[in-house]
Amino acid sequence: MARPPTDADVAGLLDASRGPLHPVAARTLEASLSVAWADPTRLHQPARRARALLDTAREVLADALGVRPDELSIHDSADRALELAIAGLRHARRRAGERVVAGATERSVVLLQPGTEPHVPVDRTGRVQVPEYAGALAAGGVAAAVLQSANGEVGTRQPVDEVDDLCRAGDVPLLLDLTASLGRDGGTALRSPTAGSVLVADAASFGGPPIGLLAVRTGTRWSLPGPRREAEHGREHAPPWVPLVLAAAEAWRQTSAAREMEEPAARALVDKVRRTAAAVPDVEVVGDPEARLPHVVTFSVLYADGEVLLEELAARDLVVASGSACTSSMLRPSHVLAAMGVLTHGNVRVTLPLEAVSPTRAEDVERLCRELPDAVAAVRQRLGRDDL
């Protein structure tokens, strides 16, 4: 099969936490503009066509999560879906309590919800401490629990099955956050297909547009305060824009079809980055080396400024991200790195794009591995820190 054309602007792209669309999904989006633009809740012909397309796409995306279409709603962003997921559990369970049990490396939007403090501590790899999690559940007054399947910044997988068992035993609904992992870890199958009462995913994780997916399993007590909302099984005020949902469904089809090649290849590339970075003096590779997402790696460079390091790599046509506070836009370092007790400065994060999104990614990783020791030395020398 001929390789579809990709965006020429992504040479050296090693930060795909929100990557470009899968090229086939991008073509689907373009084609959808003329056939699926209508509001699917209206009654005229274009609306009915949009509605039919939306129903098919919802089936595909529900299948991605292992749920039924009538359990799945679609939202403007994953953060919005996470907020709604927690709000619905808190409201439905308001008589049980107000607390939300969540680990310290959950996504910022989760940790900003009321009731989530104090956060359950994590170990040096970023994995939530199960005994402490159990203790927090047992303390009573718990409306809900939240756990990410894996952390999107450092890649570490969380103990999903253990926490799911604890929640079932304690009769506490678990929100499982798949936003970093769906389609990238375990192929089409979820690693724990029956875990969680509520699931949230981000279509961007598998090459789609950054829309949020929210599944509430049948039988889960979940409701929002106020009058019933009109769209998306009573969870949204307005239906999604259908072309985005069609693009998401196509991205899932493409990514799940390529899974057998994609994940081992990503894992091998990340292993190479981990080995190379660990060999540079005073560089700490963080996150679990084995129980991790195949496509994510983070390391921190002692005595280096995250922003300067990013610029140095950018000058070598390598596009990476950072969780350091030393970048001008952020005052605080990554809460994930801080909770793990690892170095937050000089941080470099690689989120590999899908091979279909960036066909040059293997060469880009080779180049990163070739350039990294010299880039680190150059940054330290330029700032007069090479003597430390």
Partner: protein
């Protein structure tokens, strides 16, 4: 200044990461194992970074927050050379 007489004090207040850790590393470079150094810093990243640096280098650190909005880090130097860097160690 805080600390017993003769203990070097590095005042990195007003600087941001990674400067406090760099100044600290400079200050300890020529000191023997067992020596103590005090760092004053008000950058929030130093809360994570000074203990992480100490762990990487095999030093011990204790910190206490001052009312005025900065933190005092007391570092006791470990033996020179190898320090554990295994990300799995906790």
């Amino acid at each position: 200044m805080r600390g017993p007489a003769g203990v070097p004090v590095v005042d990195a207040r007003g600087t941001r990461c990674p400067v406090p850790v760099i100044r600290l590393a400079r200050a300890v470079r020529d000191l023997p194992p067992g020596a103590t150094v005090v760092l004053l810093a008000d950058d929030v990243a130093a809360w994570s970074d000074v203990p992480a640096w100490a762990r990487m280098k095999g030093h011990a650190v204790s910190l206490h927050e001052e009312d005025e909005g900065w933190t005092v880090y007391e570092v006791v130097l470990g033996p020179r050379g190898a320090a554990p860097q295994d990300a799995r160690s906790t």
